[in-house]
Symmetry: C2
Subunit: 560 residues, 2 copies
């Protein structure tokens, strides 16, 4: 962490005003790293699939979060000291002070407080525990305005626009919609550095499927991947995805596909497979809407930490929004061929209707003809009035009808990525020390494609003409789109170490020979080996190196 701050990966926000827990700045290197991880996520989960990406507002109107349930259920229990005024998240405080895992409900907290006579760190007494909603609220517009919330997840912006999105995909399932961006959680008293943030970055994919067809067309591409699963009974399996689905450990193929895809993505950005597992939620841990849920967990200095959640959210969200907005969220699925269905229809008896209902009889008869008969009692609505009709008013006839399809509300499988934790995991898993020329060096073994600075240009001596030539090369590489840095202070060895520490994969050195034959050296971070290439070839060679895992030996003779 000291290195990350010193070298410009992460900083505490508003530091000059004393800082604020739960907020961090992505400093230059951290920003580049996270942006690159986002772009690779986009390649994996958007561009490479039948998935569209959208970008919806961070502020949402109240109605969205009433329907989603967040306005009522997205709460933690808080306790406030009556002496010093400090507020704590109750379950965390109980865990910390009493080492007790406690249910976060108000009643459970109350009981623990009484039994253990819980006090504040200052010695003061706590007041009654109270629920705190974890959404940041704000007011939109002037005057009384309108209540709004900062979104607690990007997902709701997708569900709310589902009607339009389904049209965009011509109502053809399966399709996915992704969103990358900020989300917010007004934590009561966040502590764990970058792990528990009030403002964080998510990449979420909502993959909409037919409820009866939880298959993925590309599952075959990764079904043989072997990975570590911890099921809901805490049993660990080293198993292929195919087996996991066949044995019913993972509930369906779509979930399994995204578990596999998530693993491949995480490995590709440099997360260590030995420190990665997928853990199934226990039955009492799952969100109320989820039928099956798996967390990708990474082993970090904090222990095993959730970095991705992959849940089958069923049709919970779409159904809720349909109910609250009165907008139909179903999709019409045509059958491959029309199906003939037998239905019971009511044939009105005008001779019975006429005398009883007089002028209304005709309208009632029309309404009757449209009714499908499922029970003995029929109710029709005429001019806003509901009328119950006994068997005396109609006869029943069985008819055959051609049905061309059905309307269904899709289910959604959601892989939800915590980009901040992922970025931090990549840094932890990349951190390494080794011995070079008898001296210990710190090296960040980042994958080349996520390195925040891709190439450093160093004049062997910090004077002209070395510096001028090096700066010309810097300009050239920057114009070609490489994240390029320049450093002319200190010995060349010390400068190499500096770039090793921030994970820069390649250092270019301008030396005496440069002025003889227009060549420079390229040094590889991991092997510390060097080759010599022409300046005119530099752009092509670097592009090849950064986009691949090719060795520098393929581009010249190792001379050191």
């Amino acid at each position: 962490m000291e290195m990350l701050i010193r070298r410009g990966f992460l900083w505490q926000s508003f530091e000059i005003y004393g800082g604020m827990a739960g907020f961090i700045d992505y400093a230059p290197l951290g920003n580049n790293l996270r942006r690159k991880i986002e772009n690779i996520w986009r390649e994996f989960f958007v561009i490479g699939e039948r998935v569209a990406e959208i970008d919806t507002p961070l502020i949402g109107v109240e109605e969205v979060f009433i329907a989603s349930g967040h306005a009522t259920s997205f709460v933690d229990t808080a306790i406030e000291c009556q002496k010093c005024g400090r507020v704590y998240r109750a379950d965390h405080y109980v865990k910390e002070k009493l080492n007790l895992e406690v249910d976060a409900s108000i009643d459970a907290i109350k009981e623990v407080m009484e039994v253990y006579e819980l006090k504040c760190e200052c010695g003061g007494n706590f007041g009654e525990p109270f629920p705190m909603n974890l959404m940041f609220s704000t007011k939109i517009g002037a005057g009384k305005g309108k209540l709004g919330y900062l979104r607690p997840e990007t997902a709701q912006g997708i569900f709310v626009a589902f009607r339009r999105l389904s049209n965009y995909f011509r109502d053809k399932l399966p399709f996915g919609v992704a969103q990358i961006g900020r989300a917010f959680r007004n934590e009561i008293s966040p502590r764990q550095g970058v792990i528990r943030l009030r403002e964080f970055n998510q990449a979420e994919l909502e993959f909409f499927v037919h409820p009866a067809e939880k298959k993925h067309p590309k599952f075959v591409e990764l079904e043989k991947d072997t990975l570590t699963l911890v099921d809901k009974f805490d049993k660990t399996h080293r198993i292929t995805l195919k087996e996991a689905v066949e044995k019913g450990i993972i509930a369906n193929e779509v979930l399994a596909y995204f578990i596999g895809k998530t693993r491949r993505f995480l490995l590709s950005i440099g997360i260590n497979d030995d420190k990665l597992r997928f853990r199934q939620h226990k039955d009492d841990e799952k969100a109320h809407y989820a039928t099956d849920c798996w967390d990708a967990e990474a082993l970090m200095s904090y222990g095993w930490i959730e970095i991705v959640g992959i849940a089958d959210r069923t049709n919970y969200d779409l159904s809720r929004h349909a109910n609250f907005s009165k907008v139909d969220m179903s999709v019409f699925i045509p059958y491959s061929a029309p199906v003939v269905v037998k239905k019971k229809k009511a044939i009105p008896k005008m001779s019975a209707l006429g005398p009883v209902f007089k002028a209304k009889a005709k309208k009632i008869a029309e309404a009757l003809e449209k009714v499908e008969v499922n029970s003995d009692e029929i109710e029709v609505e005429v001019d806003g009035e509901k009328i119950k009709l006994g068997k005396e008013f109609y006869t029943i006839q069985e008819v055959e009808e051609e049905v061309s399809g059905e309307r269904i509300v899709p289910h959604v499988i959601e892989p939800s990525f915590g980009l901040d934790r992922i970025t931090y995991t990549v840094l932890e898993h990349s951190f390494d020390k080794d011995i070079v020329e008898g001296e210990e060096r710190k090296v960040l073994r980042l994958k080349r494609k996520v390195a925040p600075i891709e190439v450093a240009v160093l004049p062997l001596l910090s004077r002209e003409p070395f510096t001028i030539k090096a700066l010309e090369i810097v300009d050239l590489l920057r114009k070609s789109g490489f994240y390029t840095d320049y450093d002319d202070s200190g010995s060349i060895g010390r400068r190499y170490r500096r770039f090793d520490e921030i994970g820069t994969p390649f250092c270019i050195t301008v030396d005496h020979q440069t002025f003889e034959d227009e060549t420079v050296t390229i040094r590889d971070r991991d092997t510390t080996k060097q080759v010599r290439v022409k300046i005119s070839e530099l752009e092509r060679v670097l592009k090849d190196l950064i986009r691949s895992d090719r060795s520098i030996e393929e581009f010249g003779e190792i001379f050191r």
Copy 2:
């Protein structure tokens, strides 16, 4: 606009709950377009320069915006109808109803309201005009919590972190820091669609320079560019940047550099040079902190609209934050060689100090030796006590001192881009109609590199094996990172038109010959010409085409 909504560029947010003025969704195509524009901005203004990008929180603590002045000055005057309760932005309402340009101050509004007996649209009377702060506010944490605001510009996140950023660049000016992200403005009653948003996207660059050296090392690269400037006296010039600086129309070279760079960026993403001008702020229009400010304005259906602001913000922000946070924001600038400076020093007279100050005399003498003498009266501080000393306590001696540099608070030149307006301008400037095969078609002539869908794959006939082959190619191209779509419904001509309408530069068609020789056709959107290429060559050819302006004729023989 109808097309943008229908085809999936932009949607109103929260539509199913009635929508909310000032919020839009970036739908799949609009999202891709804006993301691509952002990436090109990053290439121009970050990667290509000595500029770092950071990403700081959207929620800021109150202190930041007290120092920046937003807490007090970022206000509009509002009027509320006492009958129907509607609230309007006063100056906009006066302009709309009375066609009067009025100063937005409360007094000016009051006067106009009285003179013209201004009424609400509903006929009701307005109450007293009142100021409304345009920042969204929220509460951080539980209990009383802490007041926070959603940032009104990304810039403050940079100024607040200046101390760390300057260290990152080893205190060597000039350097730049950029930020791309959301900003918020709680408009009273926004109307103009995508032009006036409550939640918008900015790309801002703060370029820190020595106040006495407002030069840019790369100005020479674009000083010969000719552009349209409208100066603060409303006079229009067609002039090179070099001339504009020499004649004093643009205040300094750094401003001119970024005006030129901004123009090159805007042209590269497809904004029309004939519909682009740079307009200087009039003296009464400038922000209080700016010494010179230029807006890039684009001609749109709304008239000339500001899309970029380029201002010399001087050291206003850094000085304010230094004052409010008590953190030094200056940078030490070493001279190229030490300078000898003459200074007056006070030599204490112990014989006079001893009797008067007794035990304190020694400490006073030590303090005196450190003082630089500028006036007749000297004040020293000893143990927190301030003591004035007359001439009787010291003699004055002139000494020579070597000074190795000076501390300065950098000035900042800020190009600030409104990405939403820019995205919309690109769409307007790209929209075109022409006649193809005797029929009018609508075509979005987007630059290839910003097209939201880069390539569409179409089976000539919508049945196997055409569809299967086409879907194989879709999968291949998606894995290679191309934004790829597939369409098998309707005649091939109609499908081409569909992709012309959303600006897709290339359509691939799988036809009968595909099954004979593994080739497909590539159709160019602008010329509607076609060439035939091998499927195995497709990735390379498309990459070359999309990254350049090369003609498809270079890749095969035109057959249609």
